[in-house]
Symmetry: C2
Subunit: 185 residues, 2 copies
DNA sequence: CGTCGCATGTAACCAGTTACATGATTAA
DNA sequence: TTAATCATGTAACTGGTTACATGCGACG
């Protein structure tokens, strides 16, 4: 799913500026499975505007760049939903954290302790963030967004549980092998 | 984590060819959180070879390109482990599947049913794959790989449980809104 | 007779990240 | 006074994907 399409996904829920779209990616209910920074969002909206998938109204402000409020068009809606009806393909999960833990046996126990402790705190914060999301992205008429939000919460809780349970074992693995090195080929 | 480093991560567990490295990314115990196709692996190994992070021995074969068996060097090990001691940063999870489900209210119920049913089958297969991994990547001396493998299994089981529980609700959301459309701004 | 597995690689392409460019207002 | 929020955007870079190029052997 390219950034243009995810932007349309935000705009279908209500008009927004580029800045607000980015906030939706960062704090919105699908923050944990879609993203986009300024450097990709602004060009993406421009790419959506030229064929007419979105329209733009400028609101002048004092001492700031004019707000550009984008609205999705029928063409934009069609593009979004036809994309959504295509095979979603596999999820992509990339984790340097797990990659590092994989080699816990060859890393200092303090480091393993540190990254796991930090990650546990991160997960707790993510859960809180998803729990506290207000309704600006969730219309009552639409049930799915709420379900997805709950799914996100359950996902992080599952991650939290797994990591918390195994924390001591990982640290022990690192301690046990403090003076060994990883298997030499 | 760039492909060069993940390749070193495979090689630290034993010598391998480019082809075998790719298999490790696809079926190995960290297949669910790291990756790389041929188009990225071959150039990555070449980039690791020139400064001396890996060495290469050619084994001629009949009627096939010579096998190039790579071995990690001390420099390669150092590069790997020093990278592993850096802040792993956030995990990246991108899911077109969840993105589509988010708009279930505006999509055909049959489609939602189809993608959820398929995803449940996918998760079951992933679990089986991780359960059946043999020890070629898991040395008994090293505990962490096994822990990570179990973590992968628990992760997919959690995903499976969440999706299975909510399946009917998502389909109902799609059915209920069959003649409505998503909120118009 | 087709497709999967083995086995290497290159080149064009594309999408997204990072850094740059600008700058007032407000809360800690 | 420092950092965060608001608000837009461009340009260079980087890194990975896709398609191309080659081709035999085994299995069904």
């Amino acid at each position: 799913m390219d950034v243009k399409t995810t932007c349309l996904g935000v705009l279908v829920m209500g008009n927004a500026t580029g800045y607000e779209i980015r906030k939706a990616f960062e704090y919105g209910p699908f923050a944990h499975f879609a993203d986009g920074g300024f450097g990709s969002i602004y060009p993406a909206i421009a790419k959506a505007e030229s064929p007419g998938m979105v329209t733009c109204k400028k609101h002048k402000q004092q001492k700031r760049p004019a707000k550009k409020i984008y609205a999705i068009t029928d063409m934009g809606r069609e593009h979004l939903f036809s994309t959504l009806k295509k095979d979603p393909g596999e999820d992509k999960f990339r984790s340097n954290f797990l990659f590092a833990l994989y080699y816990a046996d060859a890393l200092p126990a303090e480091w393993i302790d540190e990254i796991i402790t930090k990650r546990i705190a991160d997960y707790k914060q993510k859960i809180e963030c998803l729990v506290n999301i207000n309704n600006q992205y969730c219309d009552d008429k639409n049930i799915a967004p709420t379900l997805i939000r709950h799914k996100g919460i359950e996902y992080y809780k599952a991650m939290l549980g797994i990591i918390s349970n195994k924390k001591d074992k990982f640290i022990a693995a690192a301690i046990d092998n403090r003076n060994n090195n990883i298997k030499q080929p």
